[in-house]
Symmetry: C2
Subunit: 326 residues, 2 copies
């Protein structure tokens, strides 16, 4: 499969493959957030998903295929959620798994990987550092790589979260004017573009001001490595958008907005206090963008709350109103 | 309506009256909590309900009736959630509302009442102190009282939360062996008894060790005022079970378990870290009881997560592992 060959029917097939293997997460409504946004928000609560994020969807599809092909084990790099997801998928197939994370990855995420019985290796803080380690270990162990951005089955799996949201809103008798999704390596936004294709729903990417990988790539017309600045949105730290996601997003994303660190913290606090959902900063980035921009796109707006794996200490700091977090 | 005349068909009628006026809150599943409990837990997420708790159900039904009868305004005493619910219901009918809360009620709850346009009066810390103030103000203003425990429509409304949960689990192809509900003034447990009547699902009440109002009443054969000791479960502080709820619970509750303060804090932390749900200590009391006792009742166990109105400072303290909170 190449980017040009992926389409909405592949997403429907992926949904069928995942039925009964992932939670059909709820779509949460919240009056106070609607008031802030000036639109009805439909919050796709993938923070309640198995493994704490939507990434289990893509990992299952990818590891299924590798297991069928007789893989001896799997390896992946990730800022955390893809790693948890690959560890869970590998466990389903009784395959060994090694996951390469940045050395400053949240300990909550590392613990979840170990709980799933997989091995954790840490390497630097940059995508290129992790990729190099994956390459070394892959050869040494004879494992297959589950790339979080370039694997078409990963992108299709992530697409099912948005597809499910669109269907759940239709079942409530309306239709989304737009859906806001966070942008890290790009699998969520690329998946959303595939899922929303032909539906008339605009796809809006949301990324931290600190790491505007998609904004920069769209301007340049190709993926570009951006300076690695700190963001509390640890899941959105990849400093370069994947080539496959870029190809998909470029042709159909409606727009990309950037969000300040303070606004991410505010949205995290709002999700907590008003929607009573524990979300991670990556998800809060999409919510922050929706709270500021939803009304520009119409009255019915979806938000992909991509995950809920957050350090308790960070939540405590955010709740204490410490907007700026080192 | 008296306690003897209420039955399952009244709950079904209440469900129809509330359709489209309250959220059909999701039932959340969570593998790590299942592992702790040794049973499949079905978490009825009423923390995601309008007003942040299941109490909006009973308040709407009660205030509807008063509005139809030409009420000039409504008044209620509450530890917080019933007050928020009555304020929201009164706003729907454009009726003035006065709510009487303990002077140490969480400021989050007081703010939500004011946000709904109602007046807040604080009075002492004991149920009897609030009841006395309600009586004075009711006469002065010519308002109708919405009693949180003795009003049959309040109990029927609260019953719809459990009824909805039972139906949602059946729709997933199984049936609950038991449901755990928190016990404060008793409307939740009485409602659960009505909702579960004839279903074969056991109803287990959960109350703080510090305020065992139902345990004590069942032993005495009548409602008894218990010594008012401190509990972090502010919603479960009523020191006496209501007469109507007691009558209903006594004839059909399966058992009542008491939960220590540390265990409540642990359950709150678990809901947060594993289920990614923000719940208040009253809801955590039911979860704590289920985590310890679910397996005694079977493999499929519901938990009424009654609300999510909690002070951010308390969450921060609990996450920091301060089990014992003054």
């Amino acid at each position: 499969m190449t980017e040009a060959s992926l389409d909405r029917s592949d997403v429907s097939r992926a949904e069928r493959e995942l039925t009964g293997r992932v939670w059909r997460t709820p779509v949460v409504r919240c009056d106070p957030l609607d008031t802030i946004a000036g639109a009805r928000l439909w919050l796709k609560a993938e923070n309640l998903q198995r493994g704490g994020s939507f990434k289990v969807r893509g990992a299952l599809l990818a590891v299924d295929e590798l297991a069928r092909a007789g893989s001896r084990g799997v390896i992946a790099q990730s800022t955390g959620n893809h790693a948890i997801a690959v560890a869970l998928a590998a466990r389903e197939h009784r395959l060994p798994a090694t996951l390469v994370l940045p050395r400053d990855a949240p300990s909550t995420k590392i613990q979840k990987i170990r709980d799933a019985g997989a091995e954790v290796v840490t390497a630097g803080t940059l995508l290129a550092e992790r990729t190099a380690v994956v390459e070394q270990l892959r050869e040494r162990h004879g494992y297959e790589t589950v790339d979080p951005y370039e694997n078409p089955r990963v992108v299709l799996g992530q697409a099912t979260a948005t597809a499910e949201l669109l269907g759940q809103v239709v079942a409530e008798g309306t239709r989304l004017d737009a859906v806001f999704v966070p942008v890290g390596g790009g699998s969520a936004v690329a998946g959303a573009c595939l899922a929303a294709s032909g539906s008339g729903t605009a796809v809006i990417g949301a990324e931290p001001e600190a790491v505007p990988a998609l904004t920069t790539a769209l301007r340049a017309g190709r993926p570009v490595t951006v300076p690695a600045r700190h963001t509390i949105a640890d899941g959105l730290r990849p400093d370069r958008i994947g080539a496959l996601p870029f190809g998909l997003a470029r042709r159909s994303v409606t727009s990309v907005v950037t969000v300040s660190e303070d606004t991410i913290a505010d949205a995290l606090r709002s999700a907590f206090l008003h929607a009573r959902l524990v979300i991670e900063p990556a998800a809060a980035t999409a919510l922050a963008a929706a709270l500021s921009h939803a009304a520009e796109y119409g009255g019915e707006v979806g938000v992909l709350l991509s995950g809920g794996n957050i350090e308790p200490s960070l939540v405590a700091a955010v709740l204490a109103g410490q907007g700026r977090l080192a």
